[in-house]
């Protein structure tokens, strides 16, 4: 009976259209934010930050981007890693060439450049769909991989091909320790997640979903397919770009193009399939899940006295992801986020079965 909306009458459309129309959800979200912003910084260990919290927040951001394109607008992409790389290398080049530039502006520029590149690679989407579009974005991925490995100016002629950044500051504040980095990333990711949520519940979002669900009908209600698809590519790649810059600057700190290769693209796609296509919440759940499974496999079986070899663990990982992806694609395309939703619906009726 805890999760109950009875008695909560929405007196206005504004209330009904709120992101969390049900009070318990609002409370839950507030608690979550307090935990993330206050409790975590007071208690988290270095390991929790660098192995779990920081990477899952950053990858969730890229997953939101991919979810906008694939989950909301229906355009499959295997190029997210490439767009993250555009963000990372744009940020890097700005950083070494215009060192006085504010970190926030660097991130903005990283997103903008990725958006531009995303739009260019999105143009074929007017003519091709589904599998063929996936192949076209795969080509984008390989092309971008090649560019960042083979154009020396982009990696500042570093002999090893790997680049890095020193300690960073924003408005004079250090973003160096795990706590500092975590809080900075949390702020950006929370803000961008809110923006994404706003977009998908506005008319831009409805246009994206219309294109996804039936492009023919979308056209007859006045949606311009190319414009709409390109806007999804732009927003999606912007998110990927910012995420890529954060990944490089605040998680890896020194990196090479392989950090953004096809495996990154695939793992992001897995995140949104498992987390939930067409769900912002699902992007977070998916990112955390994909990150936690290997950690879980590494730590729990040995603790239970079942030591597993590294090879076994990585095989297990693939098997689990594979099985889950097949399960979600066939049974529940809305992923873990949908299961959470169903759980809540059950709770809403609990303890009455109907």
């Amino acid at each position: 009976m805890l999760y109950r909306e009875a008695g909560q009458f929405k007196a206005s459309y504004a209330a009904d259209q709120a992101i969390f129309p049900i009070a318990q959800d609002r409370v839950l979200m507030a608690i979550l934010l307090v935990v993330a912003a206050v409790v975590v910084p007071l208690t988290a260990t270095q390991y929790l930050y660098t192995a779990i919290l920081i990477p899952s927040l950053i990858l969730a951001l890229a997953a939101i981007g991919l979810n906008i394109l694939t989950g909301y607008c229906g355009q499959v992409s295997l190029g997210t890693g490439g767009f993250m790389a555009v963000g990372a290398y744009t940020a890097y080049n700005l950083f070494i060439r215009v060192p006085e530039l504010n970190l926030l502006l660097v991130l903005l520029a990283a997103g903008a450049m990725a958006a531009l590149v995303g739009v260019i690679f999105g143009i074929p989407s007017l003519r091709i769909k589904g599998f063929y579009l996936a192949v076209a974005t795969l080509a984008a991925q390989f092309f971008l991989d090649w560019v960042f490995a083979r154009v020396p100016w982009l990696y500042n002629y570093s002999p090893s091909g790997s680049v890095g950044v020193p300690d960073l500051y924003v408005f004079g504040f250090p973003v160096i320790t795990p706590t500092q980095r975590y809080l900075f990333i949390l702020a950006i990711v929370a803000l961008m997640a809110l923006v994404a949520k706003n977009l998908v519940r506005s008319s831009v979002g409805r246009a994206w979903m219309a294109i996804r669900d039936m492009d023919i009908a979308a056209e007859i209600i006045g949606i311009r397919p190319l414009q709409t698809k390109l806007s999804a590519f732009a927003v999606s790649s912007f998110y990927a770009g910012v995420s890529g810059a954060l990944w490089a600057f605040l998680h890896l700190k020194s990196w090479e193009p392989a950090a953004f290769d096809i495996n990154r693209s695939f793992s992001l796609l897995f995140m949104i399939i498992i987390g939930g296509l067409g769900s912002i919440l699902g992007s977070f759940i998916g990112a955390a899940f994909i990150l936690l499974v290997p950690i879980f496999l590494n730590q729990v079986p040995p603790a239970l006295g079942i030591p597993l070899s590294t090879a076994t663990i990585s095989h297990l990982e693939f098997m689990i992801f594979g099985a889950l992806i097949i399960f979600f694609l066939i049974v529940e395309p809305h992923g873990l986020a949908r299961l959470w939703q169903i759980g809540k619906e059950k709770l809403r009726l609990w303890p009455f079965p109907h």
Binding site: S203, R206, M209, I220
Partner: protein, 264 residues
């Protein structure tokens, strides 16, 4: 939904002249001409494969005819793009429902108002001030449509989960949300039971009456056609064989041979 109410059939709103359309060897339409007059309900009938749906597709720019012209609101063109047709106030429903299956009833109908929503992308991203006000203003219009179509209970249901009859209703709602001047309905009552048909007839008549919306609809049920239409155009094998008020058409020898004769 703020158009002039009452209805008085006026001059032609849309005129098709000498439309011919073929797909490879198949002639879907040959030299078809007729007009749709302001505020009327025009029925387009004909046996299966007569070219009725193709005609609607030509009107809203979905198919591009090899020859002929479409004159709409005084401007003559050879063809248009679907989104142009939408911008000019032509809305339609499809024979095989074309809803956005993953979206709720509310979102489907809201999407019908897309062309009327002007707030820019950045304000939408912030969901702030003008963006929120616009969203709510349109929500109010959409809620009136929902009340009118009596689908309050399925507001938040994903349309893919709705039964066929309700989906047809939601699709009508989406078309109405655009406040069209010309509404094209492709078999809005197909596959419905008697009650659902009656409801749908009532909606069509009410829309026409209250908002003065001009309606062209395709329908196979002759009872419905005779009841609700002001005029009837009959197509057979891609050609127009009759055009007139229902009683005239019913008495027409060619029509009896080609169409009524077949079904009786």
């Amino acid at each position: 939904m703020t158009q002039q109410s009452g209805r008085k059939i006026g001059g032609p709103l849309l005129k098709v002249q000498g439309i011919s359309l073929s797909f490879g060897g198949v002639k879907a339409l040959s030299d078809v001409s007729f007009e749709i007059r302001q505020h009327e309900i025009l029925a387009i009938i004909g046996p299966n494969g007569a070219g009725k749906s193709s005609m609607l597709n030509v009107i809203n720019g979905f198919y591009h005819p090899q020859s002929g012209t479409v004159t709409y609101k005084g401007a003559t063109r050879k063809q248009m793009q679907p989104h142009e047709a939408a911008e000019q106030g032509i809305a339609r429903t499809f024979q095989n429902i074309a809803l956005f299956k993953g979206m709720s009833t509310l979102d489907n109908i809201m999407s019908g108002r897309l062309l009327k929503m002007k707030v820019n992308f950045f304000l939408q991203a912030l969901y702030w001030g003008p963006a929120q006000r616009e969203e709510i203003a349109h929500r109010e219009v959409v809620e009136r449509i929902i009340d009118f179509l009596e689908i309050q209970a399925i507001r938040k249901t994903p349309v893919g989960k709705l039964p066929y009859g309700l989906q047809k209703r939601v699709e009508l709602g989406r078309a109405l949300a655009a406040e069209p001047d010309l509404l094209l309905l492709d078999e809005p009552m197909a596959g419905m039971n008697v009650e659902e048909k009656e409801d749908m007839c009532r909606f069509v008549l009410d829309v026409n009456e209250e908002f003065g919306t001009t309606i062209a609809l395709i329908e196979h049920d002759m009872g419905v056609v005779m009841d609700i239409s002001d005029r009837v155009v009959v197509l057979d094998y891609g050609r127009k064989i009759a055009d007139g008020v229902p009683d005239e058409v019913r008495a027409n020898k060619d029509v009896i041979d080609a169409y009524l004769g077949v079904s009786h």
